[in-house]
């Protein structure tokens, strides 16, 4: 089973596309995920995902009216709506400064409601399942280019502004004294995150986007000894889950997003358990030495 997977991986075009998309998303998701976790915004990817789904449903609605372009490339509107969702979150966050999570609830509810309405209005709703749970095995070349461009832009932002991104994320108050305009930073970060979430939508599905971003980081945090090591470990875990998840999705004909996220969870459990056992042994060793 594994051998035929490897052979198909390099012989079948769709498999090669899935692998290329998976490897790039495997970097992108935990890279942004680590910043999202530091900023305690783990719920945000779900919120943006729901708003991105509005864009997809509007695309399907428009295509049912005869605009077939949107049926072929629904992610463009997905990205546009995700950015609108991000801006709405920022707007509500500033209105409810002491209850910032309220902004997420407002936007996620609006996203779910609008998606349901436009999916109902569109006659072609067959792909709803795909956008809920993702399907990396069916991605097209246009999607690969989209990820490539996103990865390029995000990488450039991290290369040139990585220090500022990390500084603001750890401590917004003190960032002002480094000469960073925190409001502009928040706006750029929100737009960047909105785009990445929409790009993840096709592969992971709206229900699993945040898992792909957050769970590898949750595992990496357990064993990382610095910010850099935690991010690198998270990316390694993410890539591992993409590769194994792809194999499982192909072999068992199950949704790829679900397979990838399941492997992510298994990695997290293994890491947490191993860490617990090592810590328990270390403590008993110290106790024994003290008795001696």
């Amino acid at each position: 089973m594994f051998l035929s997977f490897i052979t198909d991986l390099f012989q079948q075009d769709f498999m090669l596309r899935a692998l290329t998309a998976g490897v790039m998303l495997g970097i992108l998701a935990p890279l942004l995920g680590s910043i999202v976790v530091v900023r305690r915004l783990s719920f945000i990817a779900d919120t943006l995902g729901h708003f991105s789904l509005v864009g997809i449903s509007v695309s399907l609605f428009l295509s049912s009216l005869g605009f077939s372009y949107f049926f072929e490339k629904p992610l463009y509107l997905g990205i546009a709506f995700s950015v609108i969702g991000g801006l709405l979150i920022e707007f509500f966050r500033r209105s409810y400064t002491n209850y910032k999570e309220i902004s997420m609830v407002i936007v996620i509810s609006l996203g779910a409601a609008l998606s349901a309405i436009f999916f109902a209005l569109a006659s072609k709703t067959g792909s709803l399942y795909q956008y809920l749970f993702g399907s990396i095995l069916t991605v097209t070349n246009y999607y690969i280019y989209l990820i490539l461009v996103t990865l390029g832009i995000v990488s450039l932002l991290f290369i040139f502004f990585g220090k500022q991104i990390v500084a603001v994320s750890f401590d917004e108050t003190s960032a002002k004294f480094l000469g960073i305009n925190v409001s502009i930073f928040q706006l750029i970060f929100m737009i960047m995150l909105s785009v990445v979430v929409s790009v993840l939508l096709e592969a992971a599905g709206v229900l699993l986007i945040s898992s792909m971003m957050i769970i590898p980081v949750a595992a990496g945090m357990r064993i990382g000894w610095s910010f850099r090591s935690t991010t690198i470990i998270s990316i390694v875990f993410s890539e591992l889950s993409v590769l194994v998840g792809l194999w499982l999705a192909y072999s068992l004909t199950i949704p790829s997003g679900a397979a990838i996220v399941s492997i992510n969870i298994i990695i997290l459990l293994v890491v947490a358990l191993t860490k617990k056992i090592i810590n328990a042994r270390r403590i008993s060793k110290i106790d024994k030495n003290q008795i001696k």
Partner: protein, 219 residues
């Protein structure tokens, strides 16, 4: 840098917290802001740092109105109990200081400050493994990294032991002697041994008094 505050008042809704506060500080002054919890000390700092909008009243930094002021790198700030900082996610001391440095600050500057604060050995340690005293020294180094003209310390000795307190007050005094303006916020009465030049006392009824300390050492 001269700090000029005239008739500053601030209220949360209808609850007035600061009333007609006026102070003038010149470069190298050492101001202690003293008062019990809830008397508006932190609110005052938030006004000074432009977090709370000043209305009515005026704040000028070197003749620039606070609303037009954008040279915030001239300020160093150590917040109360470091509660704004997320220190559960792994990040080493050296990584934190590196991301907190502007272009003008070199690696050598960072190492000198770590050495001065006697925490050179912990630079590769994870922030979440440090004690309260070590953490405070790291945050002072961070506040000093970009060579500020004014250092603001909000309740800095709240969570550290006696030995670290003594070291802290000595460090503040040394920095003040180097010409840095110090603004130290405290609810503690242990201020008599400090060499401050000005004292702002904030009272329970939200009034305040600003005094210059006599050279003799009494307020």
């Amino acid at each position: 840098m001269q700090i000029y505050i005239n008739n500053l008042s601030f209220a949360y809704g209808i609850k007035s917290i600061i009333n007609n506060l006026s102070i003038t500080l010149n470069q190298g002054d050492y101001l202690v802001v003293k008062g019990k919890n809830g008397t508006g000390k932190t609110t005052f700092i938030k006004c000074l740092l432009g977090v709370n909008e000043v209305k009515p009243g005026t704040i000028f930094f070197d003749k620039t109105d606070i609303t037009n002021f954008n040279s915030w790198t001239k300020f160093g700030y150590v917040s109360q109990s470091f509660d704004n900082f997320n220190y559960e996610f792994p990040i080493t001391v050296s990584e934190l200081l590196s991301v907190s440095s502007t272009k003008q600050t070199t690696a050598s500057d960072r190492l000198k400050l770590l050495d001065k604060m006697k925490i050179f050995d912990i630079q590769n340690q994870n922030i979440n493994s440090l004690s309260g005293g070590q953490l405070q020294r790291v945050f002072i180094v961070r506040a000093m990294l970009n060579k500020p003209k004014v250092l603001i310390l909000d309740e800095p000795t709240a969570s550290i032991d006696k030995q670290n307190k003594e070291f802290f007050y000595q460090t503040v005094e040394d920095l003040n002697k180097e010409g840095i303006t110090i603004i130290l916020i405290t609810h503690s009465d242990e201020i008599e041994h400090l060499n401050y030049t000005h004292i702002l006392t904030m009272f329970d009824d939200y009034t305040n008094s600003f005094d210059i300390r006599n050279k003799g050492g009494n307020e």
